[in-house]
Amino acid sequence: MAPMAMALEKTPSGSIPSRGTSRSPCRSTPTGTLPTDEDLFNAMTRGFVTTNMPQWLPLTGQNRADLVAYIKTFSPKWKTLKPGAPITVPPEPALTIESVLRGRQLYQKMECWKCHGPRGHADGPSAATLTDNKDLPIRPYDFSTGSRFMCGATNRDLYKIFMTGLDGTPMPSFADDIKPADGWDLVHFLRTMQPLKTPELAIWSAWLASHANELKPIGPPGSGQ
C-alpha cells in the first residue's frame, strides 16, 4: 500500500515546488500530459508575464537547456512518464471578416465571456472568484491591456493556449470542443479585443463601422449586454 499511503498524505502545497517541476503552465501537448523539453525551454526563455519569473535571455541556449534537464529532476513524474505528443496546429488560414465573426460566435458558445468578459475585459461573472491550484485568487487575461499572453505573443501561441489549457490555473483545454480549423477563427476574434495594431483589429473595425447594429450581444442569453 505504499502508493496509497503516499497519496493519502495531504502535502501542504507550500512544500511542493510550484512550477516547472512536472508542470509548466505552457504546453504544446494535450491537457493531462507533460510538456516537452522545448516547452520548458521556451517558458524559461520567455518568463511569465505578470509573475516574478523574468525572461532568462541572459543565459545561453546551452545554459537554459541544462537547466531544463535539471528542473526535471524535481518531480518523479519525469522518470515514469513521457511528454505528450504536441498537438497538431493546422496552418493559419487567410484572415477574413467571416473568420472573425465565426470566432466571435465561438467566444459566445464556449462561454469564454464567463471569465474573460463580454468585451475581453476580464470582467465576466466568474472572473472575481477564480483561484489557482493553491486557492489563491487569479485574474483571467484582460485582452484590453494588449499585453503578452502567459505563454507567448504570437497567434500560434494563442491557439495553443486554449487548445491545451494552462496547468495550475483555471484555464481549461477546449481541444475536445473546438475543431482544429475553427481554432483559428477564435484566434482571429480574440485579437480584435486587444488595442493593438493588428490586421484582425483593422478588418474588424472596418466591418463594425457599418454593421455594428447587426451584432447580437455577447453574454448570457437575453442579457442585453
Partner: protein, 240 residues
C-alpha cells in the same frame, strides 16, 4: 463481491451485535460493518448562492443547494465518509464497468466518487451551461477540460491510487472528490452513516475511514471466518 452500495437504513445492528447479511445464504466470508458518527459541532451547511449562474439558480429556486463538506444525518451520523480496507486483502481486480459522474444543477453527483485504477470514468454535463472539470491531481496527471452545453461525455480514467479534489473554476462552489483506491473493499456512508464491507476472506485488516474535512481514522480487525465484525468510527467535528 464488491460492495459499493450502502446498506439500507436499519440493516445495520449497532453496539457490538452481529450484523445480519442481506440475503438468506450465509456470506462466503466475513463482514465488517458499522456506523460513522461525529462528536462536537460540525459546520452548518450553507445555502449556495448560484445567482451568477442563472440557469442553475432557477433550477434550485425552490430549495437552494447546501454545501456538502460536512453533511450529517440523524443520530450524529456523518455522510460522505469513505470506509475502506487500507491493509489486508484487497479484493478483486480493478472493476471494468464505468463509473459515472454527473454535473447537474451545477453540482457534482455524486459528491464523493470512488473508483479503482484504470476503471472507466464517464463525465457528463447535464446542464445548459458550460462547465470545466479540473481535477487537482498530484500523483496522477492534472488536467482541465471545458465541457460546453451539449458536449459529449468525457471518457477518462485514473491510473494511480490518489484522493483527488475536483473543481469547476467557472462555478467555484462546485467541489467534489475522485477517490481512486487500489482495493475493491470500500463503501461510502449515506445519511445514516452506515457502511458494510462484505466478502472478506479470513485475515487481518486495517479499516480506514476518511472524511474530507475531519480527516482519517483507522482500526485493526481480524476476521477468522464467517463472522460479522462491527467497527464504529467517531470523528471529532469542529465548526470550521
Amino acid at each position: 463481491m464488491r460492495i459499493r452500495d450502502l446498506m439500507p437504513l436499519g440493516a445495520v445492528a449497532l453496539a457490538g451485535t452481529a450484523m445480519m447479511g442481506r440475503g438468506t445464504r450465509p456470506p462466503p466470508a466475513g463482514t465488517i460493518g458499522g456506523k460513522v458518527t461525529y462528536t462536537g459541532t460540525p459546520p452548518k451547511m450553507k445555502p449556495i448562492d448560484m445567482a451568477k449562474e442563472p440557469f442553475c439558480a432557477r433550477l434550485h429556486a425552490a430549495a437552494p443547494v447546501l454545501t456538502e463538506n460536512a453533511v450529517t444525518g440523524p443520530g450524529n451520523a456523518l455522510r460522505w465518509v469513505l470506509v475502506y480496507v487500507s491493509a489486508g486483502d484487497q479484493g478483486s481486480a480493478p472493476a471494468t464497468q464505468p463509473v459515472r459522474l454527473d454535473q447537474k444543477g451545477c453540482q457534482y453527483i455524486p459528491h464523493v466518487l470512488v473508483l479503482q485504477p484504470d476503471q472507466p470514468l464517464d463525465i457528463y454535463n447535464d446542464d445548459s451551461t458550460s462547465h470545466n472539470i479540473h481535477p487537482l491531481a498530484r500523483v496522477n496527471p492534472e488536467w482541465n477540460k471545458s465541457q460546453p452545453i451539449g458536449a459529449p461525455p468525457i471518457h477518462t480514467k485514473w491510473e494511480k491510487p490518489e484522493f483527488i479534489p475536483v473543481k469547476c473554476n467557472v462555478h467555484p462552489w462546485m467541489h467534489g472528490w475522485h477517490l481512486v483506491l487500489a482495493g475493491s473493499h470500500y463503501a461510502v456512508t449515506g445519511e445514516d452513516g452506515a457502511f458494510s464491507l462484505q466478502g472478506l476472506p479470513p485475515g487481518k485488516y486495517t479499516v480506514t475511514a476518511w472524511h474530507e474535512q475531519f480527516g482519517t481514522q483507522s482500526q485493526d480487525v481480524t476476521i477468522s471466518g464467517n463472522e460479522a465484525a462491527t467497527v464504529n468510527f467517531v470523528f471529532k467535528a469542529t465548526p470550521y
